[in-house]
């Protein structure tokens, strides 16, 4: 399992970072947690950065891990691609302890990446980033005709929807018939 160090300089990965706004406050060592996606690459992220994610924040609050336990047990997000998790981690680090700006221009421009990012961000419950992403998805169809919108958002036509519905009904009917037959077999 490889590991990337996020949110800290690579020269001193385990040292707590000192945020400028906390310079006057007494030094409190920052705690770090570890997450990995489908590619198993482990990202080290500060608790401050992870506060953006309501899901991870809740997990941290409930688990009460020490730093060693956290290192030994990275949070697994097997449903999120490695590059997408990297984007999320980068965003959380960039916006750690800062008020989020009204616009975010650093979101991916490619449709499929943005689609995966929206799903990941929704799963991780990162509200501000989800708002930016949804705005960007909406921007894609501004000034477009219905056919162009269909193409961009891959919306099936009515005929395709009807065919899919028929197929689903047929499948459900077959499954129900299979279950009935199996139950009758068990009864014998």
């Amino acid at each position: 399992m490889s590991s990337t160090e996020q949110g800290t300089s690579s020269a001193a990965p385990a040292e707590p970072t000192t945020a400028p706004e906390s310079a006057a406050a007494p030094e409190v060592p920052e705690s770090f947690y570890y997450v990995h996606g489908k590619d198993k690459v482990v990202h080290k992220v500060s608790a401050g950065a992870l506060q953006h994610s309501a899901l991870i924040h809740g997990m941290i609050s409930n688990l009460g891990y020490t730093e060693e336990q956290a290192k030994a047990n990275p949070f697994p997000f097997e449903n999120i691609d490695g590059d997408i998790l990297q984007m999320v981690v980068d965003w959380c680090n960039q916006h750690k302890g800062k008020p989020t700006p009204p616009e975010d221009t650093n979101l991916p421009k490619q449709k499929e990446k943005l689609f995966d990012l929206v799903l990941a961000v929704n799963y991780l419950e990162i509200k501000e980033l989800l708002t930016y992403c949804c705005k960007q998805v909406a921007m894609m169809v501004k000034g477009k005709s219905p056919e162009e919108i269909r193409e961009i958002w891959m919306i099936p036509t009515d005929a395709e929807d009807e065919a899919a519905e028929k197929e689903a009904k047929k499948r459900a009917g077959k499954e129900a018939a299979g279950e009935t037959a199996a139950a009758a077999g068990d009864a014998k």
């Binding site: 929206v118 929704n122 949804c134 909406a138 169809v141 005709s145 919108i149 919306i155 036509t157 009515d158």
Partner: protein
């Protein structure tokens, strides 16, 4: 990017970022899309005071929405078809194929009619609005000239 693969809350958040005129264009994509728009935009549509048809420079009908959500917002225009213009695309509006245009000149979609179809076109569009925004919205013909020229439609609109 498949919009219908997203959870409903995400779909809602995306549609919340669209203006009325974009929702109007989106409503022609499919029946399921109309269902999604209606189910996700209940609150916004409840804030509509009225949908107004107004005469603009005596040559086009301008349709705009007055709402608590965004004040006055242009929705569409309905005008006579320019035969030299080739940029029309067709949409099925309440069972009738109508010509539409999106251009940089106007920031809203423009429906075009042949003079002989004028009333049918506005009637079809009006029926589409009722299907999309509901019959509890107040539909107004703001101009006497319009009331005269769209006599049958005026009756239809006065029913709501």
């Amino acid at each position: 990017m498949k919009l219908f693969k997203y959870p409903h809350l995400v779909q809602k958040e995306i549609l919340d970022n669209l203006e009325y005129l974009e929702l109007f264009m989106l409503s022609f994509v499919s029946k399921n899309m109309i269902k999604l728009i209606k189910s996700s935009q209940v609150q916004r549509f409840n804030s509509i005071h009225s949908l107004n048809y107004d005469c603009c420079l005596n040559v086009r009908t301008l349709v705009y929405i007055s709402s608590k959500h965004s004040g006055l917002e242009k929705l569409s225009a309905i005008t006579e078809r320019e035969e030299t213009n080739k940029d029309y695309f067709q949409l099925n509006v309440s069972g009738k194929m109508l010509d539409f245009q999106l251009s940089d000149e106007y920031e809203y979609p423009v429906a075009a009619y042949h003079l002989c179809d004028k009333e049918i076109v506005i009637k079809s569009i009006h029926e589409h609005f009722i299907n999309l925004f509901g019959d509890s919205v107040e539909y107004r013909l703001g101009d006497k000239r319009l009331r005269d020229s769209y006599s049958a439609t005026a009756k239809l609109i006065s029913m709501y």
